[in-house]
Amino acid sequence: MRAKNVIKDILGLFFELISISIYSAFLFLITWLLMR
C-alpha cells in the first residue's frame, strides 16, 4: 500500500513537471511563430 502510494506520488510529480514543460514549450512556439 505504501509502495503504491509512493509510485502514485512520483507519477503525479512527473505528470506536473511534463505538463508545465509542455506549456512552456507552447509559449516558446507562439514566440517563434510571432517572430517569423
Partner: protein, 509 residues
C-alpha cells in the same frame, strides 16, 4: 461567562497561540545558525544566537501569559484565528529582522523589516545592502523566510508544535489558506509540506546539476540551486546575488526556474488532486484555466509589442515571456535591469505587467495577487448574468464552476471575490498615488504599487534605500495586506479599535 472574563480568555487564547508561532520561528533560526557554524562565519553565529535567545524568551513569555487550559482550547473562534494570524505576522517580521540588523547589511530597522516582510510575503523586493558579499548564514535566513512564508508560517508552527489543533483551522483560514485537503488541519499542513519537500529535493537537484554544468563550483552550485529553488517554488524572487537570475546568464537555468515557479503558483489542492491520480483536474480546474488563458494572452500581446526591441525568438522568450510569467506567478525573478522596463518596454509593456501582477497565481498556493480563482468566478458570473438576461424568465438554471470539485456559483461567492478584488485595487491605487506624490512618474508608480500589492517583487527602480520612508512603510503595509488577503488585518484593527473604544468609555464613566 461575564464580559471581563470573556475579554481575559480572548487575550489568553491569542497570546498562547502567538507564543507557539514565535517559538516556531526561533526553531527555524537554527538552520542559518548551523549553516554559519559549518562555514565558520563567527559573526553571523553570534547574530543568530542573540536572535534565537530574544525570540525564545518572548515566545515562552506569551505562552506563559496565555497559560491556556484544555477547556479553553475549544473556545477558539473565527476572530481569534484572524487576529492570531495577523498579529503573528507582525511580531514575526520584527523578530526575524534582528539578524538583518545585527549583520549591519541594512541601513535601518525600517529597511530590515521591509526585507523580512518582503521575504515572508514572498514578494522579493530587496533593501539589503551589498547582497553579493553577505554571509551564507544570512542568505540562508532570507531564503528560509521566503520558503516558509510561501507555505504559511502560522500553519507550520501550529501544526507541528501544538498538540491540540481543534481551533487551528480558523487560524489557518486567517493566513489566507482556506483549503482542507483532509478533514484535519494537521493532515492538510503535512500534505502541503510533503509536496513542498519533494519538490525541494527535485528542484534543488535539477538546479544544482545545471549550476555545475554552467560552471559553478559544486558547493556553490548546491547553495545557488537550493536558494533559487526556494525562491522559485515559493514565488519569492529573492536571489543570493544582486543581479538576480541575470547572474547565471543561462537559458537552461531560466527554463528550470520557469517550470518551478509556475508549479509553485498552482493551488496545493490541485497538486494533491493530481498526485492522487486525478490528472484531468489540471485542465478542468477554473484556476488553471484562468491562469493559462491570461498568461497566454498577456505573453502574446507582450511579444507582439516588444518584438521590435529584441533580435530573435530565443531572446524574446528569455526577456519577455520569462518576465511576464515571473510577474503573473508573482515570483519576481527578472533578467532585465529595472530601468529597462521604463526605458525600453514602454507604457504598453508596463500595462501588461501591471495587469498580470495584480491577477497573480492561484488561491492556496505560494503566489500573491487577487488570484485566478476570483478572476474565473467573476468572469463566470458575468457570463451567467448575460445568459439569464437572454433566456426565458421561466428557465431557472444553476451555474457551476469546477475547483477540485463542482461548486454552485452563489451570489455570496461572487460578492466575496469582488470585495477582495476591490480591496486589492484600492491598495494598488493608494500605492500609485503615494508614488506620484513623491514625484515618481505615473507608470513607474503603478508598476511598483502592483508589484508590492500582488507580492511580486519586480522593480522598475523605485525600491531603493534612498526612497522616502513613508513609501517604505506603505509598501510594507501593502505586502502584508496583499499576503493575508485583508480580512485578518481588518479583524486585528477592528479588535484594537473596539478595545480602545471600551477603554475610552470606561475612562469617561
Amino acid at each position: 461567562m461575564n464580559n471581563s472574563r470573556i475579554k481575559f480568555l480572548n487575550c489568553k487564547i491569542i497570546f498562547y497561540y502567538t507564543g507557539w508561532v514565535i517559538i516556531g520561528i526561533a526553531l527555524l533560526m537554527f538552520i542559518p545558525l548551523l549553516t554559519s557554524l559549518v562555514f565558520r562565519e563567527w559573526n553571523p553565529v553570534f547574530d543568530f544566537l542573540i536572535s534565537i535567545a530574544i525570540t525564545t524568551i518572548l515566545g515562552f513569555l506569551l505562552i506563559l501569559l496565555g497559560g491556556i487550559t484544555r477547556d479553553n482550547k475549544s473556545h477558539v473562534q473565527w476572530k481569534h484565528g484572524f487576529i492570531i494570524a495577523a498579529l503573528s505576522w507582525m511580531l514575526l517580521t520584527a523578530l526575524s529582522a534582528i539578524p538583518y540588523l545585527l549583520s549591519r547589511n541594512t541601513n535601518s530597522i525600517l529597511d530590515a523589516c521591509f526585507d523580512v516582510m518582503s521575504g515572508f510575503t514572498t514578494t522579493g523586493l530587496v533593501l539589503t545592502q551589498d547582497l553579493d558579499h553577505i554571509s551564507l548564514g544570512l542568505n540562508m535566513w532570507r531564503h528560509v523566510l521566503t520558503f516558509v512564508g510561501g507555505q504559511g508560517m502560522v500553519v507550520l508552527a501550529l501544526s507541528f508544535l501544538v498538540k491540540e489543533t481543534s481551533g487551528a483551522y480558523k487560524i489557518y483560514v486567517g493566513e489566507a489558506k482556506d483549503i482542507g485537503l483532509v478533514p484535519n488541519v494537521k493532515g492538510t499542513a503535512r500534505i502541503i509540506w510533503k509536496i513542498s519537500m519533494v519538490y525541494l529535493l527535485v528542484g534543488t537537484l535539477a538546479l544544482w546539476i545545471d549550476g555545475i554544468l554552467i560552471g559553478l563550483k559544486p558547493v556553490s552550485a548546491f547553495f545557488h540551486g537550493l536558494f533559487m529553488f526556494a525562491s522559485s517554488w515559493s514565488t519569492g524572487g529573492f536571489a543570493p546575488n544582486s543581479q538576480n537570475i541575470m547572474y547565471y546568464h543561462s537559458f537552461s537555468f531560466e527554463v528550470i526556474t520557469i517550470i518551478f515557479f509556475i508549479l509553485g503558483s498552482l493551488n496545493f489542492g490541485l497538486h494533491y488532486a493530481i498526485w492522487q491520480g486525478k490528472r484531468k483536474e489540471i485542465a478542468k480546474n477554473i484556476e488553471t484555466q484562468s491562469f493559462f488563458i491570461t498568461a497566454t494572452v498577456a505573453s502574446t500581446f507582450a511579444v507582439i509589442a516588444l518584438s521590435k526591441i529584441y533580435p530573435n525568438s530565443i531572446t524574446v522568450f528569455r526577456r519577455v515571456i520569462y518576465n511576464v510569467l515571473s510577474a503573473h506567478t508573482t515570483t519576481g525573478f527578472s533578467n532585465v535591469y529595472a530601468r529597462q522596463f521604463a526605458l525600453e518596454w514602454g507604457d504598453f509593456g508596463i500595462l501588461i505587467m501591471v495587469i498580470v501582477m495584480l491577477i497573480g497565481g492561484s488561491a492556496c498556493s505560494t503566489a500573491g495577487g487577487f488570484k485566478g480563482l476570483r478572476v474565473g468566478v467573476i468572469f463566470k458570473s458575468i457570463v451567467s448574468d448575460v445568459r439569464k438576461l437572454l433566456s426565458s424568465e421561466r428557465n431557472v438554471k444553476v451555474y457551476k464552476y469546477h475547483h477540485i470539485k463542482d461548486y454552485v456559483l452563489e451570489d455570496g461567492v461572487v460578492r466575496s471575490s469582488a470585495l477582495i478584488i476591490v480591496c486589492y485595487m484600492l491598495t494598488f491605487a493608494i500605492g500609485t498615488a503615494i508614488g506620484t506624490y513623491y514625484g515618481y512618474p505615473m507608470a513607474d508608480s503603478a508598476f511598483e504599487a502592483a508589484s508590492v500589492t500582488g507580492n511580486v517583487g519586480l522593480s522598475i527602480g523605485i525600491t531603493a534605500k534612498a526612497m522616502p520612508a513613508m513609501m517604505k512603510v506603505y509598501y510594507i503595509i501593502a505586502m502584508y495586506l496583499g499576503r493575508l488577503e485583508f480580512l485578518s488585518v481588518f479583524a486585528l484593527i477592528g479588535y484594537f479599535i473596539g478595545g480602545v473604544k471600551k477603554l475610552c468609555t470606561k475612562i469617561q464613566k
